[in-house]
């Protein structure tokens, strides 16, 4: 490289650094917001879960079609799976999507025997690359606004008897630096009776209007809340991942600028030395003659 090339390169990297730095700052703000949403929404989800656990003892699984796998019209049990895949629309966020893809591959999801409902174009791209079938794509609007649309779509397909189970795959938020791709089963609705404390089970509740009437709307709002929680969680992870990715990009840019400046200085020095040598030899040759 000559001096001019080095200078040009340094300048362009400086510009890149400015951009990544700006993206880092923007992501940091967005992450804070998403985190806040995730933390503040947690009591609602937790209380709802706690309430459902308390009411379980009074419930009969025959009261709602959400418990077992419904049968299709031809009385055949469905074998297909429906997967709600939460990703994002934008790239440049480090391992965010890779983690999700790797998780899907590791859990050996049978792409040919599963239908997908996607929120996020990156997820759509991946699924179609794997020859999976996308039933619905909710990437276009803000994900949080389409929670109820996603839920009613999923519920409809399930109650029609098309699917054996419905699950949701997303990046779960653990802390600002830790996340984990998970798959959670939404339907058929299940709970682990052993995990609920006996003390809770012994509580008798007076339920109005009647357990039978309340169970479906309650489960529905619970499931919808699960989807909402997954989206909020995934968003927090996305921004955290992007912030980290942009931070390391900025750091790398600084490194490159540092090295390029060294090279540039050396080249400049070399040029000066050469010019001096030229002058000295020219002078000496003149003096000898």
């Amino acid at each position: 490289m000559n001096l001019r090339q080095v200078r040009k390169k340094t300048k362009s990297i400086r510009n890149v650094k400015k951009i990544t730095k700006a993206m880092q700052l923007v992501s940091a703000v967005k992450m804070k917001k998403a985190q806040q949403l995730e933390v503040e929404g947690r009591p609602y989800r937790d209380t709802l879960t706690a309430i459902i656990e308390k009411l379980v003892s009074n419930m009969d699984t025959a009261w709602s079609r959400l418990f077992g796998t419904p049968l299709a019209e031809n009385e055949k049990k469905a074998t297909r799976k429906l997967i709600v895949l939460i990703s994002s629309n934008k790239g440049l966020c480090g391992a965010f999507h890779v983690n999700l893809y790797r998780f899907l591959l590791r859990t050996k999801v049978d792409f040919l025997n599963a239908d997908f409902v996607a929120a996020g174009t990156k997820g759509v791209q991946f699924v179609s690359r794997m020859r999976g079938k996308i039933l619905a794509d909710f990437s276009n609007s803000k994900f949080l606004n389409s929670v109820s649309a996603i839920f009613s779509f999923v519920l409809e397909g399930y109650l029609r008897g098309d699917y054996e189970s419905v699950s949701i795959v997303y990046n779960k938020y653990l802390s600002a630096f830790r996340s984990e791709a998970v798959e959670e089963t939404l339907l058929p609705f299940e709970w682990k009776k052993e995990e609920i404390e006996e003390k809770v089970l012994a509580l008798e509740y007076y339920i109005e209007p009647s357990p039978k009437k309340i169970i479906e709307p309650l489960l529905k709002s619970y499931l919808e809340e699960r989807i909402r929680g997954a989206i909020i969680s995934s968003e927090a992870v996305e921004h955290a991942a992007r912030m980290m990715a942009m931070k390391s990009a900025t750091d790398n840019a600084s490194d490159i600028i540092y090295n390029l400046t060294l090279i540039g200085n050396r080249l400049r020095q070399e040029k000066i030395t050469n010019e001096l040598l030229d002058m000295v030899t020219a002078k000496e040759s003149v003096e000898v003659n």
């Binding site: 009591p43 209380t47 509580l203 109005e208 209007p209 309650l218 809340e225």
Partner: protein, 135 residues
């Protein structure tokens, strides 16, 4: 004393020790006092009255109590100073317009919902005036 928690998907709207809570359930209005029997009920849109002196407009949801604690889970909850009377009035006007000019059933239903909600908000605001004048 009852420990009351009103929780919306966005945040905990209210957490306080109270004397009594009156809420609109699907079966009609119910009041929860301390040592109430364990109860779980569905709530409809309306106004929650909390003693001592507080009103909240809520969306639909659930109420759970064991006589010492009340957990109220609702889609939305607004206090009196979180609602702007002018904006609500405007929303009512607009919703009315949509109801009369709506093309399909769905649109009309949505507008009716909005109208209903705005009316509840207005009712809530009137309650505040009442309290202020009585003090």
């Amino acid at each position: 004393m009852l420990h009351l928690k009103i929780i919306t998907p966005q945040k905990i709207a209210l957490e306080d020790d109270v004397i009594a809570v009156t809420a609109p359930s699907t079966q009609g209005e119910i009041t929860i006092l301390p040592r109430h029997v364990n109860l779980f009920t569905q709530l409809v849109e309306g106004i929650i009255k909390i003693k001592p002196e507080k009103y909240l407009a809520i969306g639909g949801g659930y109420l759970e109590t064991d006589g010492e604690e009340i957990n109220i889970l609702v889609s939305r909850a607004y206090g009196q100073n979180e609602i702007d009377s002018e904006q609500t009035q405007k929303a009512i006007e607009e919703a009315k317009k949509i109801v009369t000019s709506a093309k399909d059933e769905n649109e009309r239903k949505q507008a009716m919902k909005l109208l209903h909600r705005s009316f509840i908000d207005m009712k809530l605001l009137k309650k505040r005036k009442h309290i202020q004048s009585s003090v």
